[in-house]
Amino acid sequence: MTTQPAEHNPVINQGSMADTPDGQLPVGLTLPDGEALLSVRNLKKVYQTDGGGIEAVRNLTFDLPKGELTCLVGPSGSGKTTLLKAISGLLEPTAGEVKLGGKLVTSPPKNMAVVFQEYGRSLYPWMRVRENVELPLKVQGMDKAQRDKVVDDALEAVGLDHVPRSYPWQLSGGMQQRVAIARAVAYQPEVLLMDEPFAAVDAQTRADLEDLVRRVWRQLGVTILFVTHDIDESVYLGSRVVILSSSPTVIQQDIKIDLPDERDQLETRSSQRFSELRHHVYEQIQLAKEGFRPDAAKAQA
Protein backbone atom coordinates (compact mmCIF):
# COMPACT_ATOMS: atom_id res chain seq x y z
CA MET A 1 0.00 0.00 0.00
CA THR A 2 2.67 2.50 0.99
CA THR A 3 5.40 3.55 -1.40
CA GLN A 4 7.87 4.56 1.27
CA PRO A 5 11.06 2.62 1.83
CA ALA A 6 11.00 0.75 5.11
CA GLU A 7 13.47 2.95 6.96
CA HIS A 8 11.39 5.99 6.15
CA ASN A 9 8.17 4.61 7.45
CA PRO A 10 6.97 7.22 9.91
CA VAL A 11 4.09 5.28 11.37
CA ILE A 12 4.31 4.97 15.12
CA ASN A 13 0.99 3.40 15.71
CA GLN A 14 -1.14 1.54 13.33
CA GLY A 15 -0.80 -2.03 14.32
CA SER A 16 -1.28 -1.62 18.02
CA MET A 17 -4.70 -2.48 19.32
CA ALA A 18 -6.64 -1.66 22.38
CA ASP A 19 -9.11 -3.80 24.20
CA THR A 20 -12.21 -1.69 24.25
CA PRO A 21 -15.83 -2.35 25.02
CA ASP A 22 -16.47 -2.28 21.27
CA GLY A 23 -13.85 -4.89 20.57
CA GLN A 24 -10.41 -4.17 19.23
CA LEU A 25 -9.71 -0.74 17.82
CA PRO A 26 -6.67 1.02 16.42
CA VAL A 27 -5.29 3.62 18.81
CA GLY A 28 -2.86 6.50 18.67
CA LEU A 29 0.34 6.86 20.61
CA THR A 30 -0.15 5.99 24.26
CA LEU A 31 2.31 6.45 27.10
CA PRO A 32 2.72 4.66 30.40
CA ASP A 33 0.59 5.97 33.25
CA GLY A 34 1.69 9.34 34.55
CA GLU A 35 3.85 10.30 31.56
CA ALA A 36 1.23 11.87 29.36
CA LEU A 37 0.15 15.45 29.97
CA LEU A 38 -3.16 14.90 28.27
CA SER A 39 -4.72 11.54 27.73
CA VAL A 40 -7.84 10.65 25.80
CA ARG A 41 -9.31 7.20 26.43
CA ASN A 42 -12.07 5.54 24.43
CA LEU A 43 -13.72 8.87 23.82
CA LYS A 44 -17.13 8.65 22.21
CA LYS A 45 -19.64 11.36 21.43
CA VAL A 46 -23.15 10.83 20.12
CA TYR A 47 -25.19 13.98 19.62
CA GLN A 48 -28.81 13.56 20.54
CA THR A 49 -30.99 15.31 18.01
CA ASP A 50 -34.66 15.22 17.05
CA GLY A 51 -33.75 13.01 14.11
CA GLY A 52 -32.00 10.49 16.38
CA GLY A 53 -28.41 10.16 17.52
CA ILE A 54 -25.47 11.37 15.42
CA GLU A 55 -22.29 9.51 16.22
CA ALA A 56 -19.62 12.18 15.70
CA VAL A 57 -16.77 10.39 17.46
CA ARG A 58 -16.80 6.62 17.81
CA ASN A 59 -13.72 5.78 19.81
CA LEU A 60 -10.54 7.77 20.22
CA THR A 61 -7.53 6.91 22.32
CA PHE A 62 -4.25 8.84 22.30
CA ASP A 63 -1.84 10.70 24.56
CA LEU A 64 -0.15 14.05 24.28
CA PRO A 65 3.36 14.07 25.74
CA LYS A 66 4.34 17.26 27.48
CA GLY A 67 5.80 19.93 25.24
CA GLU A 68 4.90 18.39 21.92
CA LEU A 69 3.15 20.08 19.00
CA THR A 70 0.69 17.53 17.69
CA CYS A 71 -1.41 18.10 14.60
CA LEU A 72 -4.74 16.42 14.15
CA VAL A 73 -5.95 16.04 10.58
CA GLY A 74 -9.22 14.59 9.44
CA PRO A 75 -11.78 15.03 6.69
CA SER A 76 -14.48 17.64 7.10
CA GLY A 77 -17.17 16.53 9.49
CA SER A 78 -14.94 13.90 11.09
CA GLY A 79 -15.56 15.26 14.56
CA LYS A 80 -12.43 17.34 15.09
CA THR A 81 -14.28 20.20 16.73
CA THR A 82 -16.29 17.73 18.77
CA LEU A 83 -13.08 16.16 20.03
CA LEU A 84 -11.58 19.53 20.99
CA LYS A 85 -14.75 20.53 22.81
CA ALA A 86 -14.67 17.31 24.77
CA ILE A 87 -10.99 17.79 25.61
CA SER A 88 -11.58 21.36 26.76
CA GLY A 89 -14.46 20.33 28.99
CA LEU A 90 -17.09 22.22 27.02
CA LEU A 91 -18.88 19.08 25.98
CA GLU A 92 -19.62 16.00 28.01
CA PRO A 93 -18.52 12.82 26.23
CA THR A 94 -21.03 10.03 25.78
CA ALA A 95 -18.41 7.54 26.91
CA GLY A 96 -14.72 7.51 27.69
CA GLU A 97 -12.65 10.10 29.46
CA VAL A 98 -10.16 12.91 29.11
CA LYS A 99 -7.46 13.44 31.70
CA LEU A 100 -5.20 16.45 32.04
CA GLY A 101 -2.23 16.01 34.31
CA GLY A 102 -3.87 12.93 35.74
CA LYS A 103 -7.11 14.74 36.59
CA LEU A 104 -10.40 13.97 34.93
CA VAL A 105 -11.64 16.88 32.78
CA THR A 106 -15.29 17.70 33.47
CA SER A 107 -15.25 21.47 32.99
CA PRO A 108 -12.74 23.84 31.34
CA PRO A 109 -9.43 23.30 33.17
CA LYS A 110 -7.41 26.19 34.50
CA ASN A 111 -4.23 25.54 32.54
CA MET A 112 -5.77 25.18 29.10
CA ALA A 113 -6.54 27.72 26.39
CA VAL A 114 -8.45 27.26 23.15
CA VAL A 115 -8.19 29.22 19.90
CA PHE A 116 -11.26 28.78 17.74
CA GLN A 117 -11.58 28.96 13.99
CA GLU A 118 -14.14 31.76 14.06
CA TYR A 119 -11.85 34.60 15.13
CA GLY A 120 -14.60 37.12 14.38
CA ARG A 121 -16.80 35.50 16.99
CA SER A 122 -14.26 34.62 19.65
CA LEU A 123 -13.12 38.15 20.49
CA TYR A 124 -15.26 40.53 22.53
CA PRO A 125 -16.35 43.20 20.06
CA TRP A 126 -17.07 45.67 22.86
CA MET A 127 -13.51 45.54 24.11
CA ARG A 128 -10.36 46.92 22.61
CA VAL A 129 -7.53 44.58 21.60
CA ARG A 130 -5.68 45.10 24.84
CA GLU A 131 -8.74 44.54 27.01
CA ASN A 132 -9.52 41.34 25.13
CA VAL A 133 -6.08 39.96 25.92
CA GLU A 134 -6.23 41.23 29.48
CA LEU A 135 -9.69 40.05 30.53
CA PRO A 136 -8.95 36.42 31.47
CA LEU A 137 -6.03 37.60 33.62
CA LYS A 138 -8.14 40.27 35.27
CA VAL A 139 -10.86 37.79 36.11
CA GLN A 140 -8.19 35.45 37.44
CA GLY A 141 -7.15 38.16 39.86
CA MET A 142 -3.65 38.89 38.55
CA ASP A 143 -2.50 42.31 39.78
CA LYS A 144 -2.41 45.25 37.41
CA ALA A 145 1.33 45.70 37.13
CA GLN A 146 1.98 42.07 36.28
CA ARG A 147 -1.00 42.01 33.94
CA ASP A 148 0.31 44.99 32.01
CA LYS A 149 3.63 43.32 31.50
CA VAL A 150 2.20 39.96 30.46
CA VAL A 151 -0.20 41.61 28.01
CA ASP A 152 2.56 43.78 26.53
CA ASP A 153 4.76 40.75 26.05
CA ALA A 154 1.98 38.72 24.45
CA LEU A 155 1.03 41.51 22.04
CA GLU A 156 4.65 41.95 21.12
CA ALA A 157 5.10 38.22 20.59
CA VAL A 158 2.35 38.21 17.95
CA GLY A 159 3.49 41.50 16.44
CA LEU A 160 0.49 43.54 17.49
CA ASP A 161 2.00 46.00 19.93
CA HIS A 162 1.01 48.87 17.64
CA VAL A 163 -2.78 48.43 17.78
CA PRO A 164 -3.74 47.90 21.45
CA ARG A 165 -6.46 50.54 21.32
CA SER A 166 -8.23 49.27 18.21
CA TYR A 167 -11.39 47.26 18.37
CA PRO A 168 -11.15 43.72 16.94
CA TRP A 169 -13.58 44.47 14.13
CA GLN A 170 -11.31 47.23 12.91
CA LEU A 171 -8.61 44.66 12.18
CA SER A 172 -8.09 42.22 9.32
CA GLY A 173 -8.89 38.52 9.82
CA GLY A 174 -5.26 37.56 10.26
CA MET A 175 -4.74 40.28 12.85
CA GLN A 176 -7.87 39.24 14.74
CA GLN A 177 -6.56 35.68 14.94
CA ARG A 178 -3.28 37.10 16.22
CA VAL A 179 -5.20 38.81 19.01
CA ALA A 180 -6.83 35.49 19.89
CA ILE A 181 -3.37 33.86 19.95
CA ALA A 182 -1.98 36.69 22.08
CA ARG A 183 -4.82 36.18 24.54
CA ALA A 184 -4.03 32.47 24.74
CA VAL A 185 -0.31 33.18 25.15
CA ALA A 186 -0.92 35.75 27.90
CA TYR A 187 -3.07 33.22 29.74
CA GLN A 188 0.07 31.07 30.04
CA PRO A 189 -1.59 27.69 29.61
CA GLU A 190 0.13 24.36 29.75
CA VAL A 191 -1.98 23.06 26.91
CA LEU A 192 -3.10 25.07 23.93
CA LEU A 193 -5.82 23.71 21.67
CA MET A 194 -6.29 25.26 18.25
CA ASP A 195 -9.26 24.43 16.06
CA GLU A 196 -8.48 25.14 12.41
CA PRO A 197 -7.32 28.60 13.42
CA PHE A 198 -6.10 29.63 9.97
CA ALA A 199 -8.78 28.13 7.75
CA ALA A 200 -10.26 31.53 6.98
CA VAL A 201 -7.18 33.67 6.37
CA ASP A 202 -5.31 34.22 3.12
CA ALA A 203 -2.30 32.10 2.16
CA GLN A 204 0.41 34.67 2.91
CA THR A 205 -1.00 35.51 6.34
CA ARG A 206 -1.43 31.84 6.97
CA ALA A 207 2.25 31.10 6.42
CA ASP A 208 3.15 33.93 8.82
CA LEU A 209 0.76 32.65 11.45
CA GLU A 210 2.10 29.10 11.12
CA ASP A 211 5.59 30.36 11.84
CA LEU A 212 4.18 32.36 14.72
CA VAL A 213 2.69 29.22 16.25
CA ARG A 214 5.99 27.35 15.91
CA ARG A 215 7.84 30.27 17.49
CA VAL A 216 5.41 30.57 20.40
CA TRP A 217 5.57 26.82 20.91
CA ARG A 218 9.36 26.75 21.05
CA GLN A 219 9.64 29.84 23.21
CA LEU A 220 7.04 28.91 25.78
CA GLY A 221 7.40 25.16 25.83
CA VAL A 222 3.63 24.83 25.75
CA THR A 223 1.94 21.61 24.63
CA ILE A 224 -0.13 22.24 21.51
CA LEU A 225 -2.87 20.26 19.83
CA PHE A 226 -3.42 21.84 16.44
CA VAL A 227 -6.45 20.78 14.44
CA THR A 228 -6.48 21.33 10.70
CA HIS A 229 -7.81 19.81 7.53
CA ASP A 230 -4.81 21.07 5.60
CA ILE A 231 -2.30 18.25 5.05
CA ASP A 232 0.66 20.49 4.25
CA GLU A 233 -0.02 22.57 7.31
CA SER A 234 -0.13 19.54 9.57
CA VAL A 235 3.20 18.21 8.30
CA TYR A 236 4.89 21.61 8.35
CA LEU A 237 3.78 22.44 11.88
CA GLY A 238 3.73 19.22 13.79
CA SER A 239 6.23 17.02 15.46
CA ARG A 240 3.54 14.40 15.15
CA VAL A 241 0.39 14.03 13.08
CA VAL A 242 -2.69 12.13 14.17
CA ILE A 243 -4.94 11.21 11.25
CA LEU A 244 -8.61 10.71 11.89
CA SER A 245 -10.88 8.49 9.84
CA SER A 246 -14.11 9.80 8.40
CA SER A 247 -17.17 9.87 10.62
CA PRO A 248 -17.90 7.98 12.90
CA THR A 249 -14.38 8.77 13.88
CA VAL A 250 -11.57 6.55 15.04
CA ILE A 251 -7.82 7.10 14.73
CA GLN A 252 -6.57 6.07 11.34
CA GLN A 253 -2.90 6.56 11.94
CA ASP A 254 -0.49 8.29 14.25
CA ILE A 255 2.77 9.33 12.64
CA LYS A 256 5.96 11.01 13.72
CA ILE A 257 7.22 14.00 11.73
CA ASP A 258 10.99 13.64 11.70
CA LEU A 259 11.73 16.98 10.07
CA PRO A 260 14.38 19.18 11.65
CA ASP A 261 13.13 21.45 14.43
CA GLU A 262 14.19 24.57 12.56
CA ARG A 263 11.49 24.94 9.91
CA ASP A 264 11.30 27.35 7.05
CA GLN A 265 8.37 27.92 4.73
CA LEU A 266 10.52 27.64 1.60
CA GLU A 267 13.19 25.17 2.54
CA THR A 268 11.21 22.75 4.65
CA ARG A 269 8.34 22.63 2.23
CA SER A 270 10.64 21.88 -0.70
CA SER A 271 12.63 19.20 1.12
CA GLN A 272 12.49 15.56 0.06
CA ARG A 273 11.35 14.34 3.45
CA PHE A 274 8.53 16.87 3.60
CA SER A 275 7.07 15.64 0.35
CA GLU A 276 7.38 12.01 1.45
CA LEU A 277 5.52 12.72 4.66
CA ARG A 278 3.00 14.84 2.88
CA HIS A 279 2.46 12.08 0.39
CA HIS A 280 1.91 9.59 3.16
CA VAL A 281 -0.63 11.72 5.03
CA TYR A 282 -2.38 12.51 1.79
CA GLU A 283 -2.77 8.84 1.00
CA GLN A 284 -4.21 8.15 4.41
CA ILE A 285 -6.69 10.99 4.14
CA GLN A 286 -7.75 9.74 0.72
CA LEU A 287 -8.32 6.33 2.25
CA ALA A 288 -10.31 7.93 5.04
CA LYS A 289 -12.44 9.83 2.57
CA GLU A 290 -13.11 6.70 0.57
CA GLY A 291 -14.48 5.21 3.73
CA PHE A 292 -11.63 2.87 4.63
CA ARG A 293 -12.28 1.82 8.22
CA PRO A 294 -9.22 0.88 10.21
CA ASP A 295 -11.48 -0.80 12.73
CA ALA A 296 -13.16 -2.95 10.08
CA ALA A 297 -9.81 -3.73 8.44
CA LYS A 298 -8.44 -4.92 11.78
CA ALA A 299 -11.47 -6.95 12.53
CA GLN A 300 -10.97 -8.88 9.28
CA ALA A 301 -7.25 -9.38 9.76
Binding site: M127, L135, W169, Q170
Partner: protein, 257 residues
Protein backbone atom coordinates in the same frame (compact mmCIF):
# COMPACT_ATOMS: atom_id res chain seq x y z
CA UNK B 1 -20.19 72.64 7.28
CA UNK B 2 -21.20 69.15 8.28
CA UNK B 3 -22.60 70.52 11.51
CA UNK B 4 -24.62 73.21 9.70
CA UNK B 5 -26.07 70.63 7.38
CA UNK B 6 -27.10 68.35 10.26
CA UNK B 7 -28.60 71.29 12.07
CA UNK B 8 -30.59 72.24 9.00
CA UNK B 9 -31.91 68.69 8.65
CA UNK B 10 -33.05 68.61 12.25
CA UNK B 11 -34.67 71.99 12.19
CA UNK B 12 -36.25 71.91 8.71
CA UNK B 13 -39.42 69.94 9.39
CA UNK B 14 -40.34 71.63 12.72
CA UNK B 15 -39.83 75.03 11.11
CA UNK B 16 -42.06 74.06 8.20
CA UNK B 17 -44.79 72.81 10.55
CA UNK B 18 -44.69 76.00 12.60
CA UNK B 19 -44.97 78.13 9.48
CA UNK B 20 -47.89 76.00 8.27
CA UNK B 21 -49.60 76.41 11.61
CA UNK B 22 -49.08 80.19 11.63
CA UNK B 23 -50.62 80.51 8.21
CA UNK B 24 -53.49 78.20 9.03
CA UNK B 25 -54.29 79.62 12.48
CA UNK B 26 -54.19 83.21 11.29
CA UNK B 27 -57.07 82.46 8.90
CA UNK B 28 -58.93 80.10 11.15
CA UNK B 29 -61.77 81.33 13.26
CA UNK B 30 -62.08 78.09 15.17
CA UNK B 31 -62.05 78.39 18.91
CA UNK B 32 -59.85 75.32 19.19
CA UNK B 33 -57.06 76.61 16.97
CA UNK B 34 -55.16 79.36 18.78
CA UNK B 35 -53.02 81.83 16.88
CA UNK B 36 -49.30 82.17 17.39
CA UNK B 37 -49.80 85.22 19.54
CA UNK B 38 -52.39 83.52 21.76
CA UNK B 39 -50.16 80.52 22.11
CA UNK B 40 -47.02 82.34 23.09
CA UNK B 41 -48.92 84.47 25.55
CA UNK B 42 -50.52 81.39 27.07
CA UNK B 43 -47.19 79.62 27.19
CA UNK B 44 -45.34 82.31 29.08
CA UNK B 45 -48.18 83.05 31.47
CA UNK B 46 -48.93 79.41 32.20
CA UNK B 47 -45.52 77.80 32.57
CA UNK B 48 -44.11 79.97 35.27
CA UNK B 49 -41.44 78.80 37.64
CA UNK B 50 -44.08 78.20 40.27
CA UNK B 51 -46.07 75.94 38.04
CA UNK B 52 -42.94 74.13 36.95
CA UNK B 53 -42.24 73.36 40.59
CA UNK B 54 -45.76 72.33 41.47
CA UNK B 55 -46.77 70.42 38.34
CA UNK B 56 -43.91 69.73 35.93
CA UNK B 57 -40.97 68.68 38.10
CA UNK B 58 -42.95 66.20 40.23
CA UNK B 59 -44.29 64.58 37.07
CA UNK B 60 -40.84 64.37 35.54
CA UNK B 61 -39.46 62.98 38.79
CA UNK B 62 -42.09 60.21 38.75
CA UNK B 63 -41.33 59.59 35.10
CA UNK B 64 -37.62 59.21 35.84
CA UNK B 65 -38.28 57.04 38.90
CA UNK B 66 -40.60 54.81 36.86
CA UNK B 67 -38.08 54.51 34.04
CA UNK B 68 -35.14 53.75 36.34
CA UNK B 69 -37.16 51.08 38.13
CA UNK B 70 -38.31 49.60 34.82
CA UNK B 71 -34.74 49.48 33.54
CA UNK B 72 -33.37 47.87 36.70
CA UNK B 73 -36.20 45.35 37.06
CA UNK B 74 -36.29 44.62 33.33
CA UNK B 75 -32.57 43.95 33.10
CA UNK B 76 -32.21 41.96 36.33
CA UNK B 77 -35.24 39.76 35.73
CA UNK B 78 -34.37 39.52 32.03
CA UNK B 79 -30.85 38.29 32.79
CA UNK B 80 -32.23 35.62 35.11
CA UNK B 81 -35.03 34.45 32.85
CA UNK B 82 -32.77 34.55 29.80
CA UNK B 83 -30.07 32.48 31.51
CA UNK B 84 -32.20 29.61 32.73
CA UNK B 85 -34.32 27.58 30.39
CA UNK B 86 -36.54 26.18 33.12
CA UNK B 87 -37.22 29.66 34.50
CA UNK B 88 -38.16 30.81 31.02
CA UNK B 89 -40.61 27.95 30.57
CA UNK B 90 -42.03 28.62 34.00
CA UNK B 91 -42.45 32.36 33.48
CA UNK B 92 -43.43 32.67 29.85
CA UNK B 93 -47.20 32.04 30.09
CA UNK B 94 -47.52 34.23 33.18
CA UNK B 95 -45.54 37.02 31.58
CA UNK B 96 -47.67 36.90 28.45
CA UNK B 97 -50.77 37.21 30.63
CA UNK B 98 -49.58 40.24 32.57
CA UNK B 99 -48.17 41.89 29.50
CA UNK B 100 -51.54 41.63 27.79
CA UNK B 101 -53.27 43.65 30.50
CA UNK B 102 -53.22 47.37 29.65
CA UNK B 103 -51.65 49.06 32.71
CA UNK B 104 -54.32 51.77 32.65
CA UNK B 105 -57.10 49.37 33.63
CA UNK B 106 -55.11 48.53 36.73
CA UNK B 107 -55.10 52.11 37.97
CA UNK B 108 -58.31 51.70 40.03
CA UNK B 109 -56.97 48.48 41.52
CA UNK B 110 -53.67 50.14 42.35
CA UNK B 111 -55.52 53.04 43.94
CA UNK B 112 -57.13 50.61 46.32
CA UNK B 113 -53.96 48.65 46.97
CA UNK B 114 -51.26 51.32 47.12
CA UNK B 115 -53.31 54.48 47.51
CA UNK B 116 -53.32 57.54 45.27
CA UNK B 117 -49.83 58.87 45.97
CA UNK B 118 -46.62 58.87 43.96
CA UNK B 119 -46.18 55.13 44.53
CA UNK B 120 -49.29 54.31 42.57
CA UNK B 121 -48.33 56.54 39.66
CA UNK B 122 -44.83 55.15 39.53
CA UNK B 123 -46.21 51.61 39.71
CA UNK B 124 -48.44 52.32 36.70
CA UNK B 125 -45.46 53.62 34.73
CA UNK B 126 -43.33 50.61 35.65
CA UNK B 127 -46.07 48.16 34.83
CA UNK B 128 -46.23 49.43 31.28
CA UNK B 129 -42.61 50.36 30.64
CA UNK B 130 -40.93 47.27 32.04
CA UNK B 131 -42.10 44.85 29.32
CA UNK B 132 -40.11 46.00 26.31
CA UNK B 133 -36.95 46.09 28.43
CA UNK B 134 -37.64 42.72 30.03
CA UNK B 135 -38.50 40.91 26.82
CA UNK B 136 -35.63 42.46 24.88
CA UNK B 137 -33.17 41.56 27.62
CA UNK B 138 -34.35 37.94 27.58
CA UNK B 139 -33.96 37.84 23.82
CA UNK B 140 -30.55 39.50 24.05
CA UNK B 141 -29.30 36.93 26.56
CA UNK B 142 -30.65 34.06 24.52
CA UNK B 143 -29.10 35.18 21.26
CA UNK B 144 -25.62 35.08 22.77
CA UNK B 145 -22.98 33.97 20.29
CA UNK B 146 -22.03 30.35 20.94
CA UNK B 147 -18.36 30.74 20.10
CA UNK B 148 -18.03 33.74 22.39
CA UNK B 149 -19.78 31.83 25.13
CA UNK B 150 -17.45 28.82 24.68
CA UNK B 151 -14.43 31.12 24.62
CA UNK B 152 -15.48 32.68 27.92
CA UNK B 153 -15.98 29.26 29.46
CA UNK B 154 -12.54 28.06 28.44
CA UNK B 155 -10.98 31.16 30.02
CA UNK B 156 -13.08 30.48 33.07
CA UNK B 157 -14.90 33.77 32.98
CA UNK B 158 -17.80 32.61 35.12
CA UNK B 159 -20.31 33.87 37.64
CA UNK B 160 -20.48 37.63 38.14
CA UNK B 161 -17.60 38.21 35.71
CA UNK B 162 -19.52 36.36 33.02
CA UNK B 163 -22.54 38.62 33.52
CA UNK B 164 -20.48 41.75 33.65
CA UNK B 165 -18.06 41.15 30.80
CA UNK B 166 -20.03 38.85 28.52
CA UNK B 167 -23.78 38.62 28.99
CA UNK B 168 -24.60 42.23 29.75
CA UNK B 169 -22.54 43.83 26.97
CA UNK B 170 -23.60 41.24 24.42
CA UNK B 171 -27.29 41.83 25.24
CA UNK B 172 -26.83 45.60 25.34
CA UNK B 173 -27.98 46.36 21.77
CA UNK B 174 -31.29 44.64 22.48
CA UNK B 175 -31.60 46.16 25.94
CA UNK B 176 -31.14 49.61 24.43
CA UNK B 177 -33.80 48.92 21.82
CA UNK B 178 -36.14 47.93 24.66
CA UNK B 179 -35.40 51.09 26.62
CA UNK B 180 -36.11 53.19 23.57
CA UNK B 181 -39.59 51.69 23.31
CA UNK B 182 -40.15 52.12 27.03
CA UNK B 183 -39.47 55.86 26.93
CA UNK B 184 -42.62 56.72 25.03
CA UNK B 185 -44.74 54.22 26.96
CA UNK B 186 -43.55 55.74 30.23
CA UNK B 187 -44.38 59.25 29.05
CA UNK B 188 -47.91 58.25 28.08
CA UNK B 189 -48.46 56.46 31.38
CA UNK B 190 -47.12 59.40 33.32
CA UNK B 191 -49.89 61.53 31.84
CA UNK B 192 -52.60 58.92 32.25
CA UNK B 193 -51.67 58.11 35.85
CA UNK B 194 -52.35 61.74 36.73
CA UNK B 195 -55.80 61.79 35.24
CA UNK B 196 -57.35 59.84 38.10
CA UNK B 197 -57.67 61.07 41.68
CA UNK B 198 -54.94 63.62 41.20
CA UNK B 199 -54.60 67.26 42.15
CA UNK B 200 -51.30 68.14 40.53
CA UNK B 201 -48.99 67.14 37.73
CA UNK B 202 -48.58 67.79 34.05
CA UNK B 203 -51.27 65.36 32.96
CA UNK B 204 -53.68 66.74 35.56
CA UNK B 205 -52.98 70.33 34.47
CA UNK B 206 -53.62 69.59 30.80
CA UNK B 207 -56.92 67.86 31.61
CA UNK B 208 -57.95 70.78 33.82
CA UNK B 209 -57.29 73.28 31.03
CA UNK B 210 -59.26 71.15 28.65
CA UNK B 211 -62.24 70.89 30.99
CA UNK B 212 -62.26 74.66 31.58
CA UNK B 213 -61.95 75.40 27.85
CA UNK B 214 -58.62 77.15 28.30
CA UNK B 215 -57.64 76.00 24.84
CA UNK B 216 -54.39 77.91 24.24
CA UNK B 217 -53.20 76.84 27.71
CA UNK B 218 -54.12 73.25 26.95
CA UNK B 219 -52.13 73.33 23.74
CA UNK B 220 -49.19 74.90 25.52
CA UNK B 221 -49.27 71.98 27.99
CA UNK B 222 -49.16 69.55 25.12
CA UNK B 223 -46.15 71.39 23.73
CA UNK B 224 -44.44 71.02 27.13
CA UNK B 225 -45.14 67.28 26.99
CA UNK B 226 -43.68 67.08 23.51
CA UNK B 227 -40.59 68.97 24.64
CA UNK B 228 -40.09 66.53 27.51
CA UNK B 229 -40.34 63.69 25.01
CA UNK B 230 -37.80 65.31 22.71
CA UNK B 231 -35.36 66.00 25.54
CA UNK B 232 -35.73 62.42 26.76
CA UNK B 233 -35.00 60.89 23.42
CA UNK B 234 -32.13 63.30 22.89
CA UNK B 235 -30.50 62.22 26.16
CA UNK B 236 -31.19 58.61 25.28
CA UNK B 237 -29.46 59.01 21.93
CA UNK B 238 -26.36 60.46 23.53
CA UNK B 239 -26.20 57.62 26.06
CA UNK B 240 -26.93 54.98 23.43
CA UNK B 241 -24.25 56.26 21.11
CA UNK B 242 -21.59 56.07 23.75
CA UNK B 243 -22.68 52.74 25.23
CA UNK B 244 -23.08 51.06 21.85
CA UNK B 245 -20.21 52.75 20.09
CA UNK B 246 -18.66 49.35 19.39
CA UNK B 247 -21.94 48.00 18.00
CA UNK B 248 -22.51 50.82 15.53
CA UNK B 249 -18.85 50.73 14.53
CA UNK B 250 -19.00 47.01 13.89
CA UNK B 251 -22.22 47.32 11.91
CA UNK B 252 -20.77 50.09 9.78
CA UNK B 253 -17.73 47.93 9.13
CA UNK B 254 -19.84 44.97 8.08
CA UNK B 255 -21.96 47.07 5.74
CA UNK B 256 -18.90 48.61 4.17
CA UNK B 257 -17.10 45.29 3.72
Amino acid sequence: MRFLKDFFHIIALPALLIVAWIVWSSQSTSFFVPTLEQMSNAFSSTWTWNRMQSDVFPSVARLIAGLVLSIVIGIVVGLLVGSFRWLRQLMEPTMEFFRAIPPTVLIPVFMLLIGIGDDMKIAVIVLGAVWPILLNTIEGVRSMDEVLSDTSHTYRIDGIARIRYLILPSAMPQIMAGIRQSLSIALILMVISEMFASSAGLGYTIIQFQRSFAIPEMWSGIVVLGLIGVIMSFIFQIVERSVLKWYHGQREMENAG
